[in-house]
Structures are given as C-alpha cells and as structure tokens.
Assembly symmetry: D2
Homo-oligomer: 312 residues x 4
C-alpha cells in the first residue's frame, strides 16, 4: 500500500464488530472512508469492481478455524492479493441498556460462535439465562439497544458499547483468554510490499491429477527449498467428494529466492496455483533460514551453474 492511502476501505459489517476493530487498527484507515458490507463476498467484490480500494475480511480464528467463505472467495473469481494481516484479540463483553440490573438478565443475544466461546462464563454467572442467536455480535448489540427490546443483554465486541450506547456489564467473558482472529487487507493485484524479513506468502494449490502422494509432492516442493509452512488447509473443489485444493501460508516473501523457486516448482506440479500475496507477518516472527537457502546461496549457485555451462 505505498504512496497515497486508499480512499475507500470495504469491510465485513455491520459496524461494531471485531472486523471494524481490525480495520481501525490500520493507520491508513484513519484517513479513509469505511464501507460496511453485508457479506465477505460483497466486501471482496467491492474491491474487484473498483468500488473500494481495499477490503478487510476475517481469515481465521484460533478457536473456530478458517473462515471458509473467505478462503473460497479468494480462491476463485478475479484475482485479489493480501497486502497485510492484522490479528485482533477476541475479548467478549456483556452489554446491556444502562438502566438494566445485570442480576435481572433473562435473555442474552449474540452470534452463535460468541455464545459457544462464552459458554463457561454464562454457566457460571447467568446459569438461568436463555441464549438467543443473532447474525452478528453487532446485530445483537443493536437489538438490545432498542428501548422495547425483548433481549436483556448482548455478548459483543468492546467496540459495540459506544456504537450502540450500551453499558458494559462484564469484560473478558470469553472462555479462552488467548483467542484471536486474524484479518487480512485485500486489494487488486499490485507489486507486493517490500520484504521485511518476517513475511508470509499465501497461495492456493490446485492438485490436477489426484493421485496418491500428490499432497506429499506439494509439500516436498517447499521442504526441499527450506521453506516452512505456517498453515495448510484442504478445501473441496466442489467437483466431487475427495477432490481438494490446498490453501497454504508459507514463511517468507515471493521476492526471496527460495520462495520463488518453490512457487515455480508448485506451478509445474500443480494444475494451477493462485498467488494470494506476500506481506509482513503480524506476529513479526522472522523467517528461519536453513543453511544453503539464503538469497546469497541461491545467487552463488546460479553463478556457479552459469560458469559450468560456459565450460568454466
């Protein structure tokens, strides 16, 4: 995202969710117009059509796993690339109308994932409350904020309190205090941000011939060049049961020689490879470079080969 910041950022709405929190953590967002979209598809399509310059969508939650709609939308349609990732701690709060006494809470509304992740807290503190599902934690907060609401409290992101003028009855009510969600900033194809030494490369590998050992071959293209994998996930291609494509995050940047050679190897053994971007890791963990796989090693080997080919 060099130069002038994008004027319009789409994101998975509604307002007041963890996605908005992720988006607002980006410096460029302070000067941008933020556009809430109903679905991941809509947010990504806004970028594809040029309606937005970039989009923030959720990618993976440490408890629930990947957001498969994001994986699938990035794997098909017009190409998009990830230019940045943001990891947001998932800290749930219990919100209610200011006048409410927390002891009188009988009906709690929230998104099903949030309900699942606060199960222990609810059992301990509101054992008799009924839990009702909404389509997002922000919608839950909105429902509670209506004066005549039949819901007494919402489990939501902290950002929703201000947005919907609600009181915070309890904080950090999630059962897993280390839960996080990873979001990605997506744009139309463009040169990737410069390598930082702590980068990640995302891609989708489509196995053409589904022979036994095809996945092993894919992994060996990485391992033989010393490229470590951070995440690998199978997704159905939709063609039939048992046909998969693989969503992969690898250590390193496409500008790194070892990563470039591994990508070319993949491209040669796979039916197709979709590059989804090289970008700084949010955890800033530097790539572990196995001896013999640094850029200098690749350059030295290329020079040596060139000399040999010329008889030297």
């Amino acid at each position: 995202m060099p130069g002038v910041p994008p004027a319009r950022f789409a994101y998975l709405g509604p307002e007041g969710t963890f996605t908005e929190t992720a988006l607002r953590s980006l410096p460029a967002a302070a000067r941008a117009e933020l556009v809430s979209c109903n679905t991941v598809s809509a947010a990504l399509d806004a970028v594809r059509t040029g309606e937005a310059d970039a989009a923030v969508v959720p990618m993976e939650n440490s408890i629930e796993g990947s957001v498969t709609v994001t994986l699938d939308e990035l794997a098909s349609g017009d190409p998009l690339v990830i230019t940045r990732e943001v990891t947001v701690p998932v800290r749930f709060v219990l919100l209610g109308r200011p006048a409410t006494d927390v002891r009188s809470v009988r009906v709690v509304v929230t998104h099903p994932h949030a309900a699942a992740q606060c199960r222990n807290w609810l059992a301990a503190h509101l054992p008799h409350a009924q839990v009702v599902h909404a389509s997002s934690t922000a919608q839950a907060a909105a429902l509670v904020s209506e004066p005549s609401s039949s819901y007494d409290a919402a489990i939501a992101a902290p950002i929703a309190a201000d947005r919907y003028h609600l009181s915070t009855f309890a904080t950090d009510i999630g059962d897993n205090p280390d839960a996080v969600t990873r979001f990605v900033l997506v744009s139309r194809p463009a040169p990737p941000p410069a390598p930082t030494g702590a980068d990640k490369t995302s891609l989708v590998a489509f196995i053409g011939d589904d022979h036994p050992g095809a996945l092993l071959e894919v992994l060996e293209e990485f391992s033989v060049r010393g490229v470590n994998l951070i995440r690998i996930e199978s997704r159905p291609t939709g063609a039939a049961l048992g046909r998969y494509r693989f969503s992969i995050d690898a250590e390193g940047h496409i500008a790194d020689r070892r990563v470039g050679e591994a990508l070319m190897g993949l491209r040669r053994v796979c039916a197709d490879v979709r590059f989804l971007g090289s970008y700084p890791r949010s955890d800033e963990v530097p790539a572990k470079i196995r001896p013999g796989t640094a850029d200098g090693d690749f350059r030295a080997a290329a020079d040596w080969l060139a000399r040999l080919r010329q008889g030297g």
Copy 2:
C-alpha cells in the same frame, strides 16, 4: 453393528432434512427408534451417555466442505467410532402450500447453504423473489406449512414434502447436480466391522512439536507403507493460531497390516492419535494395494525377520 440392531438412533434434526434421509437409508433404521437432536453435539452426546445406541451426523459436503462441528466434536470428548458412512445426493426441491400458484411466489425461505447452492436456479426462475434464511431446510418447510405463513415457498430436501404436507413446485433445482453430502453412523467404541476390501479408516493426528516438516512426517508414515490418503484437513487445536490437528481418512482397514503399521508409526511421531473407526466405503472403491504391501507381504517379512533373529 453385529448382532441385535441398536434400539435408538439419534440424528441431527429436525425431521425432514437430508440427515433423516441418510438415516432412513440404513436397513437397521427401519426397526429402530429415531431421536431427532438439535445439534451435532447433542446427537453425539446422546451416544456417549448411552441414551442412544448410535447417531447419524453430517460429515462433509462436496460443495461446502467438512462439517467442522462434527470434526471437532469427534476429535474431543469421550471417544466415539464411525462404523458406517452414507452418501446422499443433495437434490433440492421447491415446496409450497398446495393452493399456491408458483408464479405468485414472492418470499422463499431456506437454510443459507441451500440458498447458495440454488442461486442460479432462483435467478433464472424467481428473479424477483426475496430469499430469507431459516436454521434448517426442514424448519423452512415447517414455516411455509403454516396456513398464515408470510413465506411462499421453501427450498428443502424431497423428504420434507410428505412430512409437512407441501406440494413440490420444482425438483432438482440445485446448481450442481452432482452435489452430495456424506454422513457417518457413530457409536461407542467397539470392534470395527469386518474388512470388505473397500474400507476407509478415519483418525485425528495431533502434532506435538510444531516443527517445520511435521506434516511431511505424518504423510510419510502413510506413504512408506503404501497407504493412500482420501482426505486430510487441518483444524485449529484452539491453543493458538498456527497450531493444528489433522483430520485424516485413509484407504484400508485397521485390520490390514499396512494400515496397522502406519497407525503405529503415527502414534510414535505424533503427540496423540485418535482412532475414529474403520468402515466400508460408501463408494465401494477397493483399496489400491501397492506391490509389497499386502497382508501376505507383511506376514512373509515378519516370518523372515523372526528367522533371522533366531540365527536362521
């Protein structure tokens, strides 16, 4: 499932969904009591507590991918094993009250996955209809069946027509005519059904030390014994981003020597392995046995080793 058939089968309800269709395709179900449960967890827990003898739950859809709640529930809690799989074609129908004229349909209700999978048909035949979401295709049918319903039609499984006394306005309206869902029959741990030559073994591998190459090691335990993988999927362990367990379906039966040795190898390199059963493949594809990996080859090699150890 040898001997007397189970008296009680739990299943993911409500009545009238593809899960019930899968359950009713089992001969044993004809003589059994069928218990509808609200969630996959509830259906599996009914088996764990002994309230039910077995449960049918969805595992994987050729379009949407795995049912992660089923994967995750089987990977934790008291052990359960799969004893059978059933694959059901996903054939959506459009249902309405008998008196309704299909041309007057303005509001269609269904489960979000069904809506997604009938998008093209809806665009072509009911371009102006509004699509509203229900929690299941059966609930959608139930909502339409109420005389004063505000919904005109439901997209549901064929089984729902009879159940809810609805007329079938259109059949096979799914965009992908080959879409199927795979269901599994789950029971408390018991000796697996006898090998048929076309079997599948399911398990979960927990990678202990998350070093680069750990997944490659797991795959090699299979490949070196000639055991082909049918499905491999990463799921978060919940401990942190980047920590995964692998849900695996392999060709062959735990009684096969090559599968047994591969499982023991996995057990030695992994932090933990949970066996989820060996059972006949619903597609009846016989296992491809690489030369040198049949049971006779393993026995001959074991006899040879025993002789050598004794100086023979």
Copy 3:
C-alpha cells in the same frame, strides 16, 4: 569436441587392451596421435598438463564395478570433464604362438579380472592348466609372444592378436557374454557438447555435515525436479571411516533446466560439488521427462513468477 580434432589422445595402456579398442572406436582417433600411459593417473595428468588434448580411461565394468582409481582421480586434482562415453563388449579370446597345439597348453597367463571372468571356460576346456597373473591382458599377450616364453597361452582382448602376432585359439571365452566396460573421454574444462536428448551428467557430491539423512537430501534434490539417477556410488573421502563422497551419473544435460536447478540445489546443500561433464549416453536411451519438468515448463513457471513479482 567441435572444430579441429585433438592432436594427441592419452590412454591407459599398454597397447592391445580394451582401452585401446575403446579409443579406436572414436572417429577423431583415426587422425590423432595415441599415447599409451602406464596408469590412469598418468593419462589424466597428461591432459591436465596439456601434454595431451584428451584421455580415454576405463570407468566401470558390468561385472567388476567401478574403476575406483578413475573415480578418485577425477574427483580431485585440477578439474577435468567427460565429453563422451564408449561402451565396449568384453569379449575375451585365448591367444597363443602360431605353432602351438591348443591341447598342449599347460600355463595360461592373464590379468586377474580376466582370469576371474573366464573361470568356467577354463574349468571346462583347460581343467589342468595353471593360471598365472600379469599386470594387463596386453602384457599377458606380450609375454606369450616371446619365442622362449614359459607361458603357453594368454587370455586377452581380440585386438591383442594382431598386435602381438598371436593365433586365436578360442573366442568369446568369457563366462558372461553380456559383460561390457564403459570408458570415458576426458578433456580440460570446456563448454559441454550440445544436448542430444539422450545425455548423461556426471558429478561428485561432497557431503559436508555428515548428519543422518544427508544422502536422502541429495537424492531429493534430484527427485523433486524429476531428474533420474543412473548410477550413485559412495567413495571414502580418506578423512575417516564413515566419511564419503558420492559419485553420481544423472539423466539429462546441464543445459536442461531441470538438471541445472538440481545441480544448483546440490551446490547449496553440499559442502562441494564437482561437475564432471554432460555428454551423450552411449546407449542412446532418451531421458524420461516427467510432466512438468520439460524446459518449456520451467520457462513458463519463471515467466509466471516474474509477472507475480511485478504485481501482475
């Protein structure tokens, strides 16, 4: 060997052995001066010093295995490259002075390898003859050719009959009718001969860190690029028991992209790699090219990577 043919060819002497047969099978030898050398080292050093333009030395026999002195001499000292290989059938003959009656043969002289390879014939036809060793089959023939020789017959190469004015008592007396010896033509470093589609690349890989799995890594550098190995042989480095270098012949030509990338990979994981030449295979077996590893596949992948790096 383009252009003007070398004026001087060194070869492992003496005259009248299979090495001379190999050398004379080369068209260029017809116009060249042939220089017999006492040892493989002397023949190779003649090339290194410029005294000869090329040398022919034995590399491998299908019965006895590699000629280790040739392997070791090529692996150390000033670099040399192989530009051609010649395979010569090993057809032994029994030679004697013209006046001799074969039934009176009491003492047979030959090189120990030749004696070993004619053991069955000798047992069947000359069961009572004593076998005495000479330093080469040609020396054996020379000894027999002396009028007052105490040896009655020599086992030698057919070429020795003319050279030493001996009669051929029996032909094809080797126990293994398919035995062959492979010779190589060696020159100072120069651009390799053009690829023919049926080429071989020879090299020596020096394993630096002798960790378990080092050889596996070396093999994977080839296999991942689809380069098949024809021959691999360990030789001691001389530093200590258990320290080896590997002499390797691989399918393909250094000008092939898959071979070039494999060589660069080797160079990066090994302490050292010595290239020993790319040259036409004497058996003219074309390289088997695995899908995805032809030059066009490598070029397409490189173009694709270049586009991605530029944001395309």
Copy 4:
C-alpha cells in the same frame, strides 16, 4: 561368539599382514588355530564348508574404500554373518635385513596400496629408491628376508618385523596417520550377539525393479523409522551396466524394534535382502535414538493398536 570359542579361524593371509594383526586382537584367537588363506574367497569358503569356524577378512580401508571382493563374496554364495568388527590403525614400517644400512636402500618392495599410502615419506626420505610391487606387504617382507634378496627394504605392517626377523628402519611412514582398516569376523548363520546399545547391522539390498526413485524408497524405509545409515555403497549385480545392489551398514541391532521394522520394510520393497549380521561397533558409538523410535515406543504403539483392533 558366546560359549566355547571356535577352534579354527581362517584369515586372509599370508602371515604378517594387518589382517593377522586384526585377528590376534580378538581374545578368542589366543586359544584358536589360525589358518592363513590365499584369498578372501578361500577364507570365507573355509567357513562355509565347515573347515573353519570363523574367518577374518578386510572390509574397508579409510583411504582405499571398500574391499569389493569381500562385499561381493558376502553378497552371494551360502549365507554368512558378521559377528564382530575390528578396526586396525594402518601404521606402515620400513623393514630391512639387520645388517643393512638404511642409507644404502635402493629398491623398496611392497603392496601397491602401501606404496601409494607412503608416497610422501618415500619422496622425502628415499627419493632415489625404486619401488617394486609384491602381492602383499607380508610377501614383500618375506622377499627382503631372503639373504640373497635383490630388494633392500619392505614397507609392511609392524607385525611382519618379528615374523621375518627384520629390523625396523622407520615407523609410522604412512602419509595419513589416521588411516585405518576395518576387518570383520564372519561365521555361519547363528543368533547374533546380544545388543550392546552401540551396534551395527549389515545387509545387502537387491533392487528388483530398477525404476527411478528405487534407492530413495530404500533410504526412506530406514529414515521413517529413525534408523541412521553408516555406510551405503552400490555394487554392480553383474547383470548389466546400471543394475546395482546396495551394501548397507545401519545403526542399531536386528533385535531393536526400529531396525526390525526397517528390515521388514526393505524386504517388502526389494527383490531380495541378505542380512549380514548385527554386531557391536568397534568405535563403540551408541546409537542415536530419535524420539518415538525406542523399543518402548514401538511396544506402546503395538499395545495401542491391539486395543483398537479389539474395540478398546
């Protein structure tokens, strides 16, 4: 070698070589009859026929590499097993008749390997001496010991001085002070000596189908069970150029579970496997046991598998 020691040990003669030194280093040799044989084949055949109880033959030299005749003889014919290895430092001495003045040495006789390994010392100390070859270092000493010998000095093993009543003119004249030769004690098939924790297992693997990747498969059978290789060497099968068998020394004992499973794996993927014995390493380096590959790990995995197969 438990119980009563063998009465007769064959060895590669003549007397006074490093092989006799190796043999005499065995405690059991003190009470045994020692039988010198002319060739490695003769020494091994003496064991096969029962004429001897065991034989000592050279296997490998740190400078010259394997003794291929020993490799080949053990790989064919009636099976034999190695029960012990002995490593002997190769310390060459210069021997002459007592009355000789070392400054007058004009002709030195020795085995060609010894001459090669003392080249630097000869160049420095006897630059004008002629070097003549004998069939063994002991024969060289014997030749010098004759009063009317035309040879002035012999390069031989220290043991030859006493044997042939010669004076030692110089010691440690080898160019490589760390040179060693490894000898093996061979007997008819018998239960191997008990594991010591620092053992070695020797075998020959015959690749049946010579497809690309066959050697990689062989190596993977070891690596997947955590068995490290100490030595691997290709030898021609004699059938044709390019057909090899592999002579392998692996860490560990056939009684170790990981070694046993690797051997069975080899047996299944190879055309044939010849076991050549498990025996203590002469360097007493204990086996490195990768986590998950100790006997206890194999037993625990086997117990786990047995329980699963029974439904447990």
